[in-house]
Symmetry: C2
Subunit: 196 residues, 2 copies
Amino acid sequence: MPPIKTNRNSTKKEVIIDKAAQLFMEKGFSATSMRDLAEKVGVEAASLYNHIQSKAEILQIICFRVANFLLEHLEKVENNKQGAIEKIKTILRFHLWHMINNYEEVQVADREWRHLPEPYLSNFKVQRKNYRQRLAAIIEKGVRCKEVKPIDPSTAVLIMLHAVSGVESWHRSSQKISADQLEKDIVLILVEGLKN
Amino acid sequence: MPPIKTNRNSTKKEVIIDKAAQLFMEKGFSATSMRDLAEKVGVEAASLYNHIQSKAEILQIICFRVANFLLEHLEKVENNKQGAIEKIKTILRFHLWHMINNYEEVQVADREWRHLPEPYLSNFKVQRKNYRQRLAAIIEKGVRCKEVKPIDPSTAVLIMLHAVSGVESWHRSSQKISADQLEKDIVLILVEGLKN
């Protein structure tokens, strides 16, 4: 699968969001100050406010960009003509590449969303739940028509999403296999099974 | 598999460690003070020091108890006569039950080990790495004798350990499947594969 990059241009605002994602990832959202961010971007703290209103606004942009990107892809998969197993493979691959190509943003969305202010927090929770339920519905349909082994669909979603988040360790590892190999291995272990 | 409980008695020290694990889990190790712990245990802060030397000592006990427990089990599995697939299933099940029955301790060991003081930190890292390498060696042997599909063993370990850590979401979920069902589903998805 070709690399997937979220649609961004290099406006000043995008540079700020990129640097913020790196900082939120390294230090956590709470421990990152606007002063840290200004230093990272290489501007005065006051001038950040020409582009963004607050730290929370950046977190909000990051979280919803990741969520929307995954939801839009899920919608396309729901509407295509693949069977359940192919749909699941397509989603796993997309998830993986999205995570590889937008590593900091995905990690920040996944770890720091609890710091979103309301009403964004509630909205984000609803979107997360919605995503998982729709993924579970694909698996459930596969189980019903015996394409997928009898498994609790929510548990399968939980296992798959956690397994994909293992890409974090892969990312940090110095002795990496290639991203293509990682894609093959994740699909193999989660869909085809280890057993030969 | 019957519940696995680590071997503990209810000495005062064990009560302190239990309460500390709960606090480290809720607030994180760094944000937990000895005063918080004393309040949770229901004693004066000063009297904690009759049983333990420091917050770091508690973290050290928790991390190494978890690590030793998993390593001892791994050693038994390495020496038994099962094939690779059965060994992997046995380890997955053990991991899962250990996580269910000692939830706070396992979570704290997994999330907070970076706060261990030296030389414990280096020792813990070595043990973690050792565990993963030995698990990978079992998979590699299975791949070599064609019992296991061709997969990068380290990637398989990474995916499996992250998948099992998904039990965290299961633990927090209000609409849980039973622990037995969870065990079946995890083995099914990771070893047998989703595909029917």
